[in-house]
């Protein structure tokens, strides 16, 4: 049976991809952000996951309002990175793991999650930037695990509740642990933390609320399910709803986790950036 090694959170801001391209890791603006990653790299080198479940939110590339799924799971042999409208060069496709994808989908539909399965899917910066952060040079990194992308809706309200997101993670963890293959899986929860791009409140960041989320996501994620979706918009900012990805990741890890590293920095682009590595009890 497969083993869930742990979970990693990170912001997935497009500017990060740009900074990696230009080698700005030691630039004064970027250094406090990239300082969050060496410990993650060491952990990944040590554990060498076979699969990565990349939980992100599409930002208007893979899905449009004509068909907006609450929860979508990729089930393709590979995932294309396409032009998101800014003319950035696309990367080579990321290798998929369709057998694992279908195992997850079978298990979660049986457990009453109403999945949209995607046998073809273009993935945007929400998926790609974390892959580049954790496996430098991705997809051209020999250690890159095969991927299952999972996207949750944060574009169109109603978005899923924090409780549903955590429960999604629990069912995902159950599915992964029942996959009949000796394999190691790492789960990414990407996006956040507090930020708002639109409206007169653009630029809103909420350090206190982010710290509250960082504390509780480690030790008491159930506490966070008391936050209503409108409170999340209010306190994390309109795009801070991406914190749902962290809840989904966290649910899959189980109760017993150890915090290996944490980083928090304001601002990267318009966003408070949070990085967290949680290891599951063996």
């Amino acid at each position: 049976m497969a083993q869930v090694l742990g979970g990693i959170t990170t912001s997935h801001i497009p500017a990060v991809g740009n900074a990696i391209d230009k080698g700005l890791q030691d630039d004064p603006y970027w250094k406090p952000f990239f300082d969050g990653y060496p410990k993650v790299h060491a952990w990944i080198r040590q554990h060498k996951p076979d699969y990565v479940v990349n939980i992100y939110n599409d930002h208007g590339l893979g899905f449009f309002l004509d068909r907006m799924p609450t929860f979508a799971i990729g089930a393709a042999h590979e995932y294309r990175n396409e032009d998101e409208g800014w003319g950035l060069p696309s990367l080579a496709p990321f290798p998929g793991a369709p057998e694992l994808s279908w195992h997850i989908i079978e298990s979660m539909v049986e457990d009453e999650f109403d999945i949209t399965s995607c046998q073809e899917l273009a993935v945007d910066h929400g998926f790609v930037v974390p892959m580049q952060l954790f496996w430098p040079g991705a997809p051209n990194n020999p250690d890159l695990p095969r991927a299952v992308p999972i996207s949750a809706n944060t574009v169109q309200h109603p978005i899923p509740t924090l409780k549903r997101a955590l429960d999604f993670g629990k069912a995902l963890g159950k599915a992964l642990r029942s996959f009949p293959e000796e394999a190691k899986v790492v789960i990414l929860g990407t996006g956040g933390l507090s930020h708002q791009l639109d409206g007169q409140r653009a630029g809103f960041i909420n350090k206190d609320f982010d710290q509250y989320c960082l504390e509780n996501i480690v030790s008491n994620p159930e506490e966070l399910t008391r936050i209503s979706r409108m409170e999340l918009v209010e306190k994390a900012g309109a795009q801070g709803t991406e914190f749902l990805m962290w809840m989904m990741m966290r649910g899959a890890l189980g109760d017993d986790v150890t915090e290996i590293t944490r980083n928090y920095h304001i601002p990267i682009s318009n966003t408070a950036a949070g990085t967290l590595l949680l290891e599951c009890a063996a």
């Binding site: 409208g85 169109q156 639109d198 409206g199 409140r201 630029g203 960041i205 601002p267």
Partner: protein, 118 residues
């Protein structure tokens, strides 16, 4: 517990919740912007913005907001920031430029405002 109606949203100053009501209003605008994922559509818009807006059936207030580069008006008209970001890309506006435009700050002032929250 949240109530069962799509008027349950609390009022959050300076924030428009992109719910069904806004989506109904903004569908044509958002569809045009979503299609800017393709370079050929971006070029077609740049070559003939009025014709391209006509093709997607944008209403007058949406067209005027685009002519005026008025982001707040685009949002008022049902534009969703994730799709509008692709339109902003055509005008080479960064998210900090867009933030400044919406909050009456220069881009530099907006960046300072962000950093001040650390």
């Amino acid at each position: 517990m949240e109530s069962h109606s799509h008027d349950y949203h609390i009022d959050i100053p300076g924030t428009t919740v992109f719910d069904g009501r806004m989506a109904m209003k903004g569908y044509a605008l958002n569809k045009m912007c979503y299609d800017f994922n393709r370079a050929e559509n971006r070029e077609a818009f740049k070559a003939d913005p009025e014709g391209w807006m006509e093709k997607y059936g944008l209403r007058d207030a949406q067209r005027q907001a685009i002519r005026d580069n008025d982001i707040l008006a685009m949002i008022e008209e049902g534009g969703n920031i994730y799709y509008l970001a692709k339109l902003a890309g055509i005008f080479k506006l960064s998210v900090q430029d867009v933030g400044g435009l919406q909050t009456g700050r220069t881009t530099e002032e907006f960046k300072q405002f962000l950093a001040s929250q650390a």
